[in-house]
């Protein structure tokens, strides 16, 4: 009985919001989407907000960060261009998203090639049922997580980015996500990114807070499709206010000889939960996933990843590094899944962590689930202190202990930031890492 009560408690609030927001939700734009939202809220109601009893949330209790005190309406934010200018990167085309909504007047689109189509998802779905051929919610099956269901049900808008067949988008596109406001709000932005056959795109996503006065929870879902011979570089920096929590899921489908390179750097925020799910659906695809998380002061960062090798002859490599300071909790949960048909798969996964503080915790769960025999798969994880001999060595060369630590931690982090190919963003990343890492 008690189990049922808890379930009702954590979903009832959102069932109410579902009714109240009917006119603003994405379903208002499109009848098919409306049906999907209805289905999603029904499924969500069965599950509720996940806590530690759900295996995928064993180390991250979402109920600590999202409860009934949250609503779905926030005061309109009146940020001026000057408030956010410093967050722009070089001359990159910048799309400003405030609380999950595209704000055209604050964005800088003069360097956006006209081949690349950037639109509100709402606008797109009002016209047609798909985003350049991608069906809304088409990549999720019955295994969708409770938070994905919640996003699908409640989402009101988001951004859609499409790169047409054969177009090589040279300059990176910067998605600048800003949290701002004075109310406890749950946001459910929904984004779609498509890189057409033979096309390429570098997409930078940065998450930060400006004038944020109350706790917020951003429950973001991004569907990405990398078609045949296409390349997508997806670089993410998360550096929100300690009042902000976010669950950020990327569902990526990669086609034949497609390339997907992901770098996720998480430096701040009350709670960050990342889900990076890559489904490899075409042969000879190549996947690289890198991550760095720096967490302390009672904050919590959880990196989940899933690589599904559905077809033969593909390569995936994953390296996540964590620096856990005093009072921080880090989680790494990676899974390599190799289907029976996916022979000649090469899949590697590695997680390395350094614990620095007296109340530091790291929970790590690297997993292999393998049903094909002609494969090379491995994972490894290490957790420990900073190399004391190296620390001593640097001290004998005249560096004081703090500086020596900083140098070593910097080197530890650099392996991840070095994988970013865009120089402006890499430099920015390195600076931000230096700020948080000690």
């Amino acid at each position: 009985m008690s189990v049922a009560t808890i379930k009702r408690d954590t979903s009832a609030k959102w069932l109410e919001e579902f009714e109240l927001t009917a006119g603003n939700r994405l379903g208002a734009a499109n009848a098919t989407v409306k049906e999907k939202q209805q289905k999603a809220i029904t499924e969500f109601a069965e599950k509720g907000i996940p806590d530690k009893k759900v295996e995928d949330y064993k180390y991250t209790n979402i109920r600590l960060y999202l409860n009934d005190e949250f609503g779905m309406k926030g005061n309109a934010t009146r940020l001026k261009s000057s408030d956010i200018r410093h967050l722009f990167l070089g001359g990159h085309a910048t799309i400003v998203m405030i609380n999950g909504r595209f704000v055209h007047e604050l964005s800088s689109l003069k360097n956006l090639p006209r081949e690349v189509v950037v639109k509100n998802l709402f606008t797109v779905l009002k016209e047609t049922d798909t985003v350049a051929g991608i069906e809304f919610n088409g990549q999720f099956d019955e295994k969708a997580s409770p938070l994905t269901l919640l996003n699908t049900a409640l989402t009101q808008d988001g951004i859609s980015i499409t790169v047409p067949k054969g177009y090589d988008c040279k300059g990176p596109l910067h998605l600048l996500h800003i949290s701002s406001g004075t109310d406890k709000v749950l946001y459910n932005p929904r984004n779609v990114v498509k890189v057409g056959e033979g096309a390429s795109l570098t997409l930078i996503e940065s998450y930060c807070s400006v004038d944020l006065d109350e706790k917020i929870f951003t429950n973001s879902v991004t569907e990405m499709v990398v078609e045949k011979d296409a390349t997508l570089n997806n670089y993410i920096l998360q550096e929100e206010d300690p009042k902000a929590s976010q669950s950020n899921l990327h569902q990526v489908s990669v086609g034949t000889t497609g390339k997907f390179n992901s770098v996720i750097v998480s430096l701040n925020g009350a709670m960050v939960r990342n889900d990076l799910n890559v489904s490899i659906n075409g042969e000879n695809a190549e996947i690289h996933m890198h991550g760095l998380f720096v967490v302390k002061d009672g904050h919590h960062i959880d990196n989940h990843s899933l690589v599904e090798h559905n077809v033969p002859n593909c390569f995936s490599n994953e390296l996540y590094k964590g620096v856990v300071g005093d009072g921080g909790t880090g989680v790494f949960n990676g899974k390599i899944f190799v289907k029976q048909d996916a022979q000649k798969t090469n899949a590697y996964q590695s997680n390395k962590n350094i614990l620095l503080g007296d109340n530091s915790t790291i929970n790590t769960k690297p997993q292999l689930e393998i049903y094909a025999d002609d494969v090379k798969c491995s994972h490894g994880t290490t957790t420990g202190r900073l190399d004391e001999e190296a620390l001593f060595y640097l001290q004998t060369r005249g560096l004081d202990q703090d500086l020596a630590r900083k140098v070593l931690l910097g080197a530890f982090a650099k392996e991840i930031s070095d994988t970013v190919k865009d120089e402006a963003f890499r430099n920015h990343l390195e600076k931000r890492i230096q700020v948080h890492i000690v």
Partner: protein, 481 residues
């Protein structure tokens, strides 16, 4: 299909070699589980009141909890009311020599290649043979008792050493621990008890052969080993079971307590009937094994070779409470045909400077699924704790699965934890190399697999290692040649 694949398939599809059933009249109660059943078992075994209380408490708790389903295992629902919870061979008069032992039983042991006679005469191993639920024979008792070592059936211990049983039973695996251990606490039939007094080094390997014998009877063994300060014991457990069609439930509990400076080595070779090629029959093996390194500098080492059972659910674990204590887990798990294994360990570091090592070798063939599941937990305050884990999986054929699910929870900044895992298949070039030296493919696979498991086999006591090596080859052997 390429030639070597075909050979692989033939080799890995061999049938169980030790399938036979011995015919000893059983004293069995009808299937079903109620408080009455438990009272019957306790009365039949002439147990003191405290034991009955303990059983009933466990039973009442068991009624409130549900069977766990988090493991990577699929099996039909178990009907706990269709199982008979007690069976014993008919009481025999006290025996003076082996000649008086039921010749049927002796033949059974001989078929297993572990003749009591040989064991007693040659290897100096004391054997406490458990056939079904009641101890049939205990040997070397006198020699051990000179040293103050108690090695007897659990039932005898309950009557003769109630203080020790009261103190330690359930101290490592409490009634509330899990579904299967609660069931065991309620209905356990018999098992072994072992106490090594202060400073005593047990001069021989202690060993027990468990066997399931009576059709349709569940097996609920209970073992308790207490090693007092500065003592040492090496304990061997091995089993094999007769072929049959019905699924059989086995839910054993093993508890080990190691006091200050004590060391316990626990080695297992498990070869319960795995079911036939189609997955019919076979033992469901849900085992709770846990040791606690209670005192400083104590050490508990688990070594297991798991080749049998249709379902294996087993996580021999160590709680490292004493400072500088050491926990080890060395495992080989072979699954073939339709077998499923979800096995691994839990190492919980509480004391300072504690160390644990995990080496797991999983071999999956046929249509089987073989999972390693392990937890390494470093509590806050377990300063300078160390863990090293190596989990390797070998796949033989493209219809089996090999999985690794490690959980590492680290709460102390001075800890050093390392985990590595690999998955691969037997190299065709390795097989060809052996072939070229005149070794046929079947033998080559045996050789390569044994080499692959060397690190774990080396941890077994000599005579056990030989048997285990044979077992590995037999498990993967087939109709070739």
């Amino acid at each position: 299909m390429a030639g070597s694949d075909k050979i692989l398939e033939e080799i890995t599809s061999s049938e169980y070699k030790y399938g036979f059933t011995s015919n000893i009249e059983s004293d069995t109660i009808p299937p079903g589980l109620t408080e009455e059943t438990i009272r019957f078992i306790s009365a039949k075994k002439e147990e003191p009141e405290f034991m009955l209380e303990y059983r009933l408490k466990a039973y009442r708790h068991w009624l409130t909890i549900k069977e766990p389903h988090w493991a990577h295992l699929k099996y039909p629902e178990i009907d706990y009311q269709s199982i008979s919870y007690y069976s014993a061979p008919k009481k025999q008069k006290v025996l003076n020599s082996l000649d008086e032992v039921d010749p049927e039983l002796l033949r059974t042991f001989e078929k297993l290649g572990i003749s009591l006679v040989e064991q007693m005469r040659l290897s100096g191993v004391a054997v406490d043979a458990v056939l079904d639920s009641v101890s049939v024979k205990t040997t070397f008792k006198e020699k051990l008792s000179e040293l103050g070592i108690i090695f007897c059936s659990f039932s005898d211990a309950v009557k003769e050493h109630p203080e020790l049983i009261k103190k330690f039973m359930g101290s490592v695996v409490p009634i509330t621990d899990n579904y299967f251990s609660a069931l065991n606490a309620a209905v356990f039939s018999d098992g072994s008890f072992c106490y090594i007094p202060k400073g005593v080094r047990c001069p021989m390997e202690l060993s027990t052969y468990f066997r399931i014998n009576s059709a349709g009877t569940g097996q609920f063994e209970r073992t308790l080993i207490v090693a007092d300060e500065g003592s040492y014991v090496s304990y061997l457990e091995g089993c094999t079971a007769p072929m049959r069609d019905e699924n059989q439930l086995h839910a054993a509990v093993v508890e080990i307590v190691a006091h200050k400076d004590a060391e316990v080595k626990y080695s297992t070779v498990q070869n319960w009937y795995p079911g036939n090629k189609e997955g019919k029959g076979g033992i469901y093996n849900f085992v709770t094994k846990r040791g606690i390194c209670l005192g400083d500098n104590s050490k508990i080492s688990w070594t297991q070779v798991e080749t049998g059972s249709a379902i294996t659910w087993k996580y021999p674990s160590v709680i490292l409470k004493g400072n500088n204590s050491v926990g080890e887990f060395y495992s080989i798990a072979v699954t073939n045909n339709m077998q499923q294994a979800d096995t691994g360990t839990k190492m919980t570091h509480i004391g300072k400077n504690t160390k644990s090592t995990i080496v797991s070798k999983g071999i999956a063939a046929g249509k089987s699924n073989n999972s390693y599941r392990g937890l390494v937990r470093i509590n806050k305050g377990a300063s300078k704790a160390r863990n090293y884990s190596q989990c390797d999986s070998l796949l033989m054929g493209d219809r089996c699965g090999a999985h690794t699910f490690p959980y590492l929870e680290i709460n102390d900044k001075t800890a050093v934890v390392e985990h590595e895992a690999t998955t691969s298949k037997i190299g065709e070039d390795q097989i060809f190399y052996c072939n070229q030296r005149g070794i046929d493919t079947e033998k080559a696979i045996g050789l390569i697999v044994n080499g692959y498991c060397r690190e774990v086999l080396n941890k077994l006591p000599m005579e056990f290692a030989v048997e285990a090596q044979k077992l590995l080859a037999v498990s993967l052997e087939g109709s070739v040649g």
